[in-house]
């Protein structure tokens, strides 16, 4: 049995005016049909056409919006999508169309649908056949879009997802059979009671049976309520365990915060000490404040020292002039006359003035100079201590700023959980476990009472059944009742086991596909499919990866693995239509997902941009490509066409 698309014909559908695509039948080796197209060229229009042909119950306005080039075509036009496909050995031709004609200021749309199977019109079976092939709730498992599939990797499914999954697995029909058989048993028993009461047989038994049935119904309700409470308590315990992990991490942060706050207090203490030392320095050493003026003074003194050296030189000059005057001869050997003597005497007077200037009162005495130099050195050393203190102060301030920033960051991350404590969690856990144990005991008691009541009911029923053989009508009824009860028991047991079996199967396939695609094959060990079909990835050490912590790409891979597993678990797996499926995927994920497509064993229609399937990747999957099409945009006529690539 197989399900393959054979052709798709579009008329006035979204970006297409007239297009027909033929699909080759996949074989063991090649199953990929690729459509290349840029954004806005019409890939999603193809996906929507396939969704429309199966489940396109659109209202008039929506139909108008799907019409290609409405302004040009709205005069009187027909919109139609026809899909030809092979299903269960028969060729099906499904057409959904609408004629759109103007009606005043609005448009009149007349939608219709046609189904031909192996050349025969099957108008009256359309809904049944479509529901059998791709039930509406399950179409997202066949036609999926990369941007939306991550919804299946959520920790909790949205409404209707569980039902859709079970629909794919064929579970609801069996469950309904079980429930309808139960209703039938009730009806047959009422009928039986009616026959017996008319004959006045075992009225006491009938009365007893009625009472016991009421008791069973009430116990069943109690059982369900208890079971719901147990589930809620278990969920709460699981949540608490998650919280426990979070709190453990938070406690670590709280400890770090406490340490940092202590360190901050220490730094602040040290800062105070340093500031106080600096204050002391300032108070106890006013001279220190004069370090710079003293320094200047010393520089001036040194300068004056140099001037005093100049004085010695001047005095030497004076001595020479005096010697010349005393000798009365010039150094050139000639006698000095009165005029020359006058000149020399004037020179001596000027030298005296100069010497007097150089050795004036403002000059520092040697002892004063030494004392000043000592003070200066002393103050310089004190100043070094102060400089060190100031540098320490600056360094402490930097550390305080750093610790303060860390504290602010930690406080932000702990907002609302400042008082989180593992002991609180333990207390809550103990309380929940206590309540859970009580509920479990209650459940065991209810089940025991239920078993007893059912046994009693069966005893009464046996006695009533025996009495039924007294009439032909009763005999036949007894037989029908017996057969119905046996069928009901068999179906009840089978459906429970079947659901489990299918879930395990989906879990195996999901794990297999996920591990073949994930870029962390050494870290992840598999995927668990829970009873409500939610998914959990677990690591090789057994720990669970919280779904919220998976990256967008990983969620996409997880959802893809699950959807694929679901499809492959159905009786007749459907072709996959994937619209730009690699949106969040890195190169490793994308390549491994591409590698997994040929192994699916069903026809795969890949609607890809050049980013989804670059030439290198395309060449790698070339051996599995059955057909390639290119979506081309005729911009002049504002329409798209599809050509073999």
């Amino acid at each position: 049995m197989s399900f393959e698309f054979r052709s798709l014909t579009l008329k006035n559908w979204l970006v297409y005016s007239e297009v027909k695509i033929n699909f080759d039948a996949p074989d063991q080796k090649r199953n990929l049909i690729v459509f290349y197209g840029r954004n806005g060229f019409g890939k999603t229009s193809l996906l929507r056409a396939l969704q429309f042909v199966f489940h396109g119950r659109l209202d008039h306005n929506e139909l108008y919006n799907f019409l290609h080039d409405p302004q040009k075509n709205a005069g009187l036009s027909e919109l139609a999508v026809t899909l030809e496909f092979l299903f269960d050995g028969q060729i099906h031709q499904l057409t959904r169309m609408a004629t759109i004609s103007p009606s005043g200021n609005a448009y009149n749309c007349s939608p219709s649908v046609k189904l031909i199977i192996d050349g025969h019109n099957q108008q009256d079976q359309i809904d049944d056949v479509i529901a059998k092939i791709i039930p509406k709730q399950t179409q997202q498992f066949v036609f999926f879009d990369g941007a939306e599939i991550t919804r299946y990797s959520k920790r909790q499914h949205e409404d209707g997802v569980k039902e859709a999954i079970e629909q794919v697995l064929g579970i609801p029909a069996i469950r309904n059979l079980r429930d309808d058989l139960y209703t039938l048993i009730g009806k047959l028993e009422d009928e039986q009671a009616d026959i017996l009461s008319k004959q006045n047989i075992h009225t006491d038994l009938l009365q007893g049976k009625e009472e016991i049935e009421d008791l069973i119904a009430s116990l069943e309700t109690d059982k369900q309520t208890t079971s719901d409470r147990i589930k809620a308590l278990r969920d709460a315990l699981n949540k608490l365990q998650d919280e426990q992990i979070q709190v453990r991490l938070m406690e670590q942060d709280i400890r770090t915060l406490e340490e940092k706050e202590k360190r901050l207090a220490d730094y602040e203490e040290r800062l105070k000490e340093i500031e106080s030392k600096i204050d002391e320095q300032i108070k106890s050493a006013p001279l220190r404040l004069l370090v710079n003026p003293i320094h200047n003074l010393l520089q001036q003194s040194e300068a004056k020292q140099r001037v005093s050296d100049k004085r010695a030189l001047t005095q030497e000059r004076k001595r020479i002039v005096e010697e010349i005057l005393n000798d009365g001869n010039c150094i050139c050997g000639r006698d000095i006359d009165d005029t020359a003597t006058q000149v020399l005497e004037n020179m001596l007077a000027r030298i005296d003035v100069l010497v007097g200037q150089a050795g004036g009162k403002g000059d520092l005495a040697a002892s004063e100079f030494t004392q000043l130099t000592r003070i200066h050195h002393d103050q310089q050393s004190k100043s070094a201590v102060a400089t060190e203190l100031i540098s320490q102060k600056a360094s402490i301030n930097v550390k305080i700023d750093e610790v303060d920033a860390d504290i602010r960051k930690l406080k932000e991350s702990l907002k609302g959980h400042e008082n989180a404590s593992i002991s609180d969690i333990y207390n809550q856990q103990a309380d929940l476990e206590n309540r859970l144990n009580m509920e479990l005991k209650d459940q065991a008691r209810i089940e025991m009472e239920l078993d007893n009541a059912k046994r009693k009911s069966d005893d009464i029923q046996r006695k009533l059944d025996q009495s039924m053989t007294q009439t032909t009508q009763g005999d036949a009824l007894k037989r029908t009742l017996l057969d119905t009860r046996n069928l009901h028991k068999a179906v009840s047991e089978y459906v429970e086991k079947l659901v489990k079996l299918k879930r395990i199967r989906i879990e195996e396939i999901t794990t297999e596909i996920f591990l073949s695609i994930t870029n962390k094959p050494d870290e992840y060990a598999g995927v668990t499919v829970e009873a409500d079909y939610t998914l959990q990835v677990y690591r090789k050490d057994g720990s669970i990866v919280e779904n919220e912590k998976l990256s967008s790409g990983e969620k996409e891979v997880l959802a893809y693995s699950f959807i694929t597993a679901l499809n492959l678990s159905t009786e007749i797996p459907a072709p996959f239509v994937m619209d730009t499926p690699f949106g969040h995927l890195d190169a490793t994920h994308r390549n491994q997902l591409l590698d997994s497509l040929p192994r699916l064993g069903v026809q795969v229609l890949l609607l890809a941009t050049d980013r989804d399937l670059p030439p290198v990747e395309r060449d790698r999957i070339e051996p599995f490509i059955l057909q390639e099409y290119e979506i081309i945009r005729d911009q002049k006529n504002a329409r798209s066409i599809i050509n073999p690539a």
Binding site: D180, T480, D483, E571
Partner: protein, 62 residues
Amino acid sequence: MNKQDKENALLEETLAKFGVSLQLYEKTLYEEKKRVHMQRRRNITDELRHIIEQQASKDDVK
């Protein structure tokens, strides 16, 4: 054993345990499936009863 074989084996084993024929199960399930596909749940106990009684007469003839 493939998935279908496993499911079939489970079904046969369960039906045998309660002495129910595969034919009866399939006929009643088919009746249910028709309703599921049509997405119109309605009471089909009369149809089920008819199938069960018919099957009982067939078994008696055998």
